[in-house]
Subunit: 357 residues, 2 copies
DNA sequence: GTGAAAGCGCTAACAA
DNA sequence: TTGTTAGCGCTTTCAC
């Protein structure tokens, strides 16, 4: 009783003694079908509990209205939020979103792409796996004529549409803010030098220091894996110094938080004694006390821009598009951990710059 | 040049001067095709850069190999983790997963179901929206003969396969643990009484108290929305009491964390003066200092069980199955916030009980 | 071991 | 305004 045969447009047509094409058109609100027929068809469809078969339509039209999104990890706040942004935009269209996780594995990423391609997706948005250095599987997508847009992570070697964030600028803003608060001896918790985002963040820090005529002291730049535990360890080390720094700009919220915990335990006041700024605006930054000032990467906006870029691409499909790199402007979210002076309004600008490459 | 026509099995057939059916069979490793032909076909397919069209296959077979998962929110750790569990299991099959978000909205939930049904999914796993009280749109799924499994949230009024967690038991374990640590005046931060999970957690708390011959003092049960701010507010109130409690069992990690912050600020030692236990094992519980003891809901396991239940259902499709309720055993994750005595090994049992309803 | 042929449910020229 | 017809790419029964 549960799985009786599904109703098709032919069933409706037979019942109404018209043809399937008329039913199809009526359901699609085709302009050249009489209102009477439309009404009748729609009514009967409802009565017969008709459910369109989008697979059949997709096969016929050659377009699935499916968009594949490949992310390293669904349970990382940042990516979840990007997906939200994508869906925000695509919900108003008739595209549906399929999400795949690569778990930062190259193999999984390849099989994800294979599955999406087989599902005849109309576009793929991806943030590639950490393992990925060869992009031939991504090139396959482009070669098949399917729009591909990379977000968050990108490589200059592989020229394709991309939406990324300006890590350099984020770090610059963070450091500048600390300087405005009166800090001069600012420690930077830096990440591995072989990862481009960490190099960029370090550059941003250094540049902000220089612009304010503060010396860049190599001793104040400490490299680590930026995990919570490292933050704790580094804070312990700093406490041994002859002269304490007056601020820390960490390239990761986790390391920043670890350091804050150690400082608090040693009764060092934050931000009075040492101000702290992190990076990524992880959700816990607003939960802890004091709140951790951090650089927001506009994850949701990133998703929205990615989806919109895709929709734009569709319009000038004919034209042979040059890949566009959209760089989002990060936003400094100021919280208690860095606010030595009077409160100040938040910077709310998030306009992206478009750079043709 | 980019979007040339895709190769089909007919193209391969023509090139090899055989028929499409042979190609299809060779690609599917059909037993009655000679090894020579198979090899040849596979080789040529690769050469011609053939990509199967799973949509066409789906239409023909009447099964899409797509599973739809509906969750309230992708950026809630718990749900993201459930999805991971689902994928863990389904990755080894030829099912692919489509994720939809309802944003806890009934309307969105309905449209998600519509989209999934149109995509001809072979099954739907869902955690319904908070707004949902009428389940007719879910009944539609069942009536169409498509397997539906609810997870996390469920209603006894709607009899369908479900995988849930035992909130009562989780609360019981948490309270029992506090009692074992020597606590007697245990405050319970309770949630809204109209939500079943909060009622269950309260019952677990009360039962554990009674079993240990401790009185259940209504004054120690405080209701709120369980947000971080409420936790702070309640902690401030508690500090005004004549006699401080020796522990708090909060039905939410957020409220627990808020309280911890206030206590720490007032130099109340955790866990020595007041022990704290939360619920949900949110990711921040292991980040803060001391770590917050919490009840883990086995989100990943929940996803795995859901997927496995689906696979089981497929086997006895003929048989008219009675809905099964799978209740997962929550696990208490013990951290610094409640550990007054010597360290003890963690309870690792996570075996579910199967209860036929 | 392979071929022929039909058809999944829908759409879209082309006709009328 | 509606009907006719063909076919998207694949699978599968029935032949041989």
């Amino acid at each position: 009783m549960s799985s009786k045969k599904r109703t098709t447009i032919h069933d409706i047509a037979k019942k109404l003694d018209i043809t399937a094409s008329t039913v199809s058109r009526a359901l699609k609100d085709h302009p050249r079908i009489s209102d009477a027929t439309k009404e009748l068809v729609i009514k009967t469809a409802k009565e017969m509990n008709y459910q369109p078969n989008s697979i059949a339509a997709a096969l016929r039209r050659g377009t699935s209205n499916l968009i594949g999104v490949i992310i390293p990890n669904i349970d990382r706040n940042f990516f979840a939020s990007v997906v939200r942004g994508v869906e925000d935009v695509l919900n108003d269209t008739n595209y549906n979103v399929i999400i795949c996780q690569s778990n930062d594995s190259l193999e999984k990423e390849k099989s994800n792409i294979k599955a999406l391609l087989e599902a005849q997706v109309d576009g793929i948005f991806a943030s590639y796996a950490k393992e990925t250095t060869d992009f031939s599987h991504f090139e396959d997508i482009v070669n098949r004529g399917i729009p591909l847009i990379l977000f968050d992570r990108m490589q200059d070697v592989f020229n394709v549409d991309a939406v990324v964030i300006d890590d350099y600028l984020g770090a610059y803003k963070a450091t500048e803010h600390l300087i405005e608060q009166g800090c001069e001896r600012i420690v930077h918790f830096a990440g591995p030098e072989n990862v481009s985002i960490y190099r960029d963040r370090r550059r941003g820090y250094e540049e902000a220091m220089k612009r304010s005529h503060l010396s860049v002291d190599e001793d104040l730049i400490i490299h680590s894996d930026l995990k919570l535990e490292s933050g704790k360890r580094l804070a312990e080390e700093i406490l041994e110094w002859n002269e304490l720094p007056d601020a820390i700009f960490s390239a990761s919220d986790y390391a920043a938080m670890g350091a804050m915990e150690v400082f608090k335990k040693h009764d060092i006041e934050i931000p009075q004694d040492i101000a702290v700024v992190g990076f990524s605006n992880e959700s816990f930054t607003s939960l802890i006390d004091p709140g951790l000032t951090s650089v927001d990467q506009h994850s949701k906006k990133m998703g929205q821009f990615t989806a919109n870029l895709f929709l734009d691409r569709l319009k000038d499909k004919s034209k042979d598009h040059t890949p566009t790199k959209t760089v989002l402007n990060p936003e400094l979210i100021i919280r208690g951990s860095s606010l030595k002076k009077v409160e100040q309004p938040q910077d709310q600008k998030i306009e992206p710059e478009h750079i043709n490459t």
